[in-house]
Amino acid sequence: MSLALENACHPDRRDWLRRAGGGAGLLGLAALLQDTGLLGTGLRPAQAAGGKSTTPLAPKPSHFAARAKRVIWLFINGGPSHVDTWDFKPELQKRDGQELPGFDRFTGFFANAVGPLMKSPFNFQPQGECGKPVSEIFPHLSRHVDKMAFIHSLFAKSNNHSPALFMMNTGFTQMGYPCVGSWTTYGLGSESKDLPAFVVMSDPLGRGLPKGYSLNWGAGFLPSVYQGTWLKPQGDPIDNLFRAKEMNDVQQRAQLDLLRELNLGHQARHPADDEFSTRIESFELAYRMQSAAPEAMDVDREPEHVRKLYGIDQEKCAHFARQCLIARRMIERGVRFVQIYSGGMENQRSWDGHSDIHGNHTQFALETDQPIAALLQDLEQRGLLDDTLVIWGGEFGRLPVAQKSDKPGRDHNPHALTFWLAGGGVKGGTSFGATDDVGHKAAVDPVDVHDLHATILHLMGLNHERLTFNLNGRDFRLTDVSGNVITPIIA
């Protein structure tokens, strides 16, 4: 590639990126770069000396036609109560205050604070064409139930936050396995060359990280390039993203031009070794990333009405609105997988409503309801929802019995939780499976976390049994040795 072409491509980077981001719509940066011939060698899987690919993030074909090309997972951290959100239980209303016969008081975390059955403190009204009863805490989201497929019969494996978080993210309760986002980018590579393939956003209000920290977006034994890029809520969001202060763009460009020239000279002596040219290209990509990543995160570039739609002007939900909008901008630019955590650590810092379930869920619903609803609407309007999978759910559900407290709460419930999926390939307005009368356990068509993972991969065009990584002689999978695709929710 000649330097002239390089410069021609972005005489004014802002303008160039506007074309990539705004005007080009679906068109990811990679496609744009390909069109201009900039990614000549970069997209070709190069062979390292040992025969291993050195461009692990190059796009790879899916196993079969994908329904969704990208994922936004709204991780409802701490364990949202299904019976207070999406899983309406009239029987629970009736039996309010009664004991739950045969209840094992070690089910939750606080065996000595078990109370009787407790009805939801929230009203439920049927919504949408499907008539789904939805809790009053979701006035915005309730308008989108016809886009959602609910899974009510999901059950978890652990009653403890970090093992349950690991299970939900990696399919194992132990630490150290690759998470869904890592498996997905391992399987499909990235459509974006100047943004990370897999991005994670956590609570920016100082309430901490989900339990188990970064292991929730770790790549485990997969190469570390597949780990989630955590956009730090404070300071520089991505390591080394910004040029040193003492240097300006012209100076850095001149420096990189010299580097390129000298590296090309070296490469001429090793024409057969592709990894050298791959690395030369990586500097060009990094150079572009310096402006592409901040641009993707700069929600101030969005028009006023869009910002308002997400609720950036609302104090209670501004932070989550911003993250949802960043997520949309990211996937628009080819990012494969985005995960946003609502809430930080345990208790009142997340959806972990051990005490005052009413206050806790009212608050966190207020933080997320409008932004998520706006995200669904915005994606739909831009034609992105068709091939973007949106996931809503946390690590476990909550018990139908009260956890005794001044203001009663609910304890962890590994036996039942609700997820909803929307967008790419999902049959909207459906509900799959059911819990028992009071919402204690998955009762009809129970499905486990492996089934959920198998379904997500399936929608991404990946066969969960074929997406394997051999470690020390064993083929590992996200779904371990089980997993069935939940076909009834697929359109």
Binding site: Q47, T55, L241, E246, E275, N472, G473
Partner: protein
Amino acid sequence: MKASRELFQKEVRQVLAGRCVKCHGGDKVESEFDLNTREALLRGGAGGSAINLEQVQESRLLALIEHRDEPRMPANAARLPDRQIAAIRQWIELGAAYDRPLIEKDASPDAWIARRIDPSQREFWSFRSLATVEVPDAPLADWGQNAIDRFVGQSLQQQSLTPSPPADKRALVRRLYFDLIGLPPSREEVEAFMADRSPNAYEALVDRLLESPHYGERWARHWLDAVRFAESHGFEQDYDRPHAYHYRDFVIWALNSGMPFDQFIRWQLAGDEWAPEDVQAWKATGFLGAGVFPTQLTEKEFESARYDELDDMIATIGTSMLGLTVGCARCHDHKFDPIPASDYYRLVANFTSAIRSNLELDLDAESSRRAISEWEQRHAPLAEELRAFESQQLGSRFEAWLSETRRKLAAGEAVPMADTPWIIASAAEAISKGGAVLTPQADGSFLATGANADFDTYTFVISTKASSITALRLEAMAHESMARRGPGRAENGNFGLGRIRVEAGPLEGTDPLAPVPIARARATFQQDGGNLSIASSLDDNPRSGWAVDPQFGKDHAAVFELAQPIQHAAGARIRVTLEFTVNNRHNIGRPRLAITRSSAADVAIDGAAQSQEMVDVAAVLAGKGELNEAQRDLLLRWYRSSDPEWKQRHDKLAASLAAKPVARLTPVMVVTEGRKPIPHHADDRGFPHFYPETHFLKRGDIAQKQGVARAGFLQLLDGRLGDTEESPWRFAAPSDAKSSYRRREFSSWITDAERGAGALLARVIVNRLWQHHFGRGIVATPNDFGAQGERPTHPELLEWLAGELLANGWKLKPLHKLIVGSAAYQQAAAARPDCLTADPENRWVWRHSPRRLEAESIRDAMLAVSGGLDRTLFGPGTLDENHKRRSIYFMIKRSRLIPAMQIFDAPEPLVSIGERPSTTVAPQALMFMNSTLVRTTAREFAQRVIAANNAAGDFPEAWIRDGYLRALARSPAEGELKAGSRFLLQQSERYQEAGQSAARDAALTDFCQVLLGLNEFIYTE
């Protein structure tokens, strides 16, 4: 049929077991077709017969797997590789023989425990004993330095490939430095090597690098990958293991010292049982405990967490040492290798009681021993001097003094010995509630030995003839038997007196003792003014009380002033109760009690004391009576302390004794048995840390225990004759052993190349050495030498190298020397198109593959070139990303891995990693462009260049030349010099235009950064 069976073992079983049997005979029998056994296969399924032995091509099985017919098999998966299909066809042609079923199905539910492997399964290439291999005759004329080249040459010839010419000297010296010590050669080192024209210049350099302490740092890092080394627990809290770095130091030290590899392995498994006197052997056991462990456990998780922990040990031993995926046999028999699940539990049983402990050890016992022996030489004459004085002069001086004293008494003058404020209270009873033995000492103190209970209570009952007692003194005295000489029995030498109670009654009679309130207390020293003060031993809070950290190794005393004197005309009985409730095991090690009749508020805390016996002696003398033998002796001892001649000699001796060197103790994380475990959150809920027995677990489930597993070995690597023969590796545990010595036995087995696993152990380690020198192992799957792993490209060479290792006593350095001394290693890196087409992966070693440096070397090289590298060895690591030591000294905290390492493919330390990927992604480039690390390093590099080329006239060419030599060990080419000059001049101008003061320095920093960013800088070729 024999040929068919052999083909089955070699290739077919693997395919059928891996791709077919799960749905056809395993979990289910799809289409009624079962191929688990030959009989079932011949029966066929719903679609008719599966194979046709007469007309093989007609076989339905072949039609389906070749996708000639529907349903295509395997279902929902890619077509089998042609090679595998061909093997299956050939196998059917030969008769479709099985050696045994694909899956063992048990008649009785615990038959799996008794499963014996078929002896023929030991015939797999990697499980056999080491074969003697003949070095082939030189197959390539004019090529080759040593035996390795003859093996490699033979393969090249067979593949119709030719070796590459030797690399040029500069490339070679750089390659050698990075391979052996992980650091670049300095400019001077390169020049010296280039200038050395002697024929053994290269060999001398190899020797020098192998003796460099940095060799251990480089090669330890490879081993640490294989053993999932980290310094935190992982999981929820990811607590630090601050004493775990000693294991890393052991590995570095052992490699540097040339420790034989079999010993290196034995110590990691059982150093505490092989060489308990050697601190390095203890450090080595950190291997077993380097894995993760949850710190938050519910009761339901206690036992499964322990089995997970044992699994981590066994799985890591399997992959890192034996290249065997033993961990796969936890829930069922290994699917591909002959490892029954029962063998797995027998292996685990060797480690049943092994747990992590932090022990206080002397890291430099050698120096301590030397210091003590030097001290002993100084001390002995002083002891002799005192002894001589006592035997020759003391007696007569005492006699003179005694007659003088008698004279004074007769004259009614005062004598000092009857006039001390304190009377030592010799207790009639001294009882430890916690079971400590309290032995009376000559000075009236009690030495506590034996049990050191968590919260002990001592009770003393004192009898005294004194009629009025105003205060009580408690001394806590130092003693050799305690850590840091005490005076407490806690691990740090401290104690904590939570409460003291005094009760008293008349000496005679049986009146119950009445409580005596204490008004005030004071002490020689107290730990603080609050909860660890002397006053707090009087309050009601049992967790507060008198303690003396950090004033260890000396005597302390406290005076307890009684609210009302104890007054009984005929003397008193006093019970003193000391409660050590402040902290676990914080009991006083050598208490002594004294009473006084003086005014309580005025009596000196350190006032002289004497025993009741001395008070009696004084009375005898006053009454002009005769002293008995014991009283005379007592008086002599009392006298001599006031004799200046004796005292001067004695004090000198005592001072010398007090200055006796003490070993400096450092906590070290070890894995051993019978010691205190590292504290755990669940301790107070009864978490036992280990269970006394390991059970056979059906499907790996703790709810399905099927009997106790006795410690044992892998059948497939157990060369004993039959089951009955005694283990030749058994070692009788010494009588005072705290541990079972099972691990010692296990480690003997694993290193026994004759009858144990040693042959495989040797193959695996020589393959690792080869892999790290060439970028690819002879076996390309370094952690899997089983059926699923790759076969060796050069099986005879591997066998020969393993034999060489054994022949030179398991020493690794000679093997390195052999490898880097080969022409195969010294080949140029340039890719020749014909060879590249024929062998793109360089499996046959027709060149030296260019390789990117590993994460640690990239950073270390930058620091070295910039002159900022701190080469200090050993010691605690750090999370500070700006530290200047080698990268191996980063602390490895599982939740805070260092980004600059991770980004260049340093693995997550969770399981054994045998081979790192080598990826190229944009965030790496961002690091080279913008990170503080690289910018700072570039600035320092530039300063170094400036300092060496101060003459302004040299700018820019001399500067560029200097930079190239330092960074790349070569001079710039003409074009490079031009490009660099142009850049430096223009960039200087740009900085000048931007108003920067030191524009030229800034430009040079940018240029140096470019050098660090070159492909040539982070690749060896």
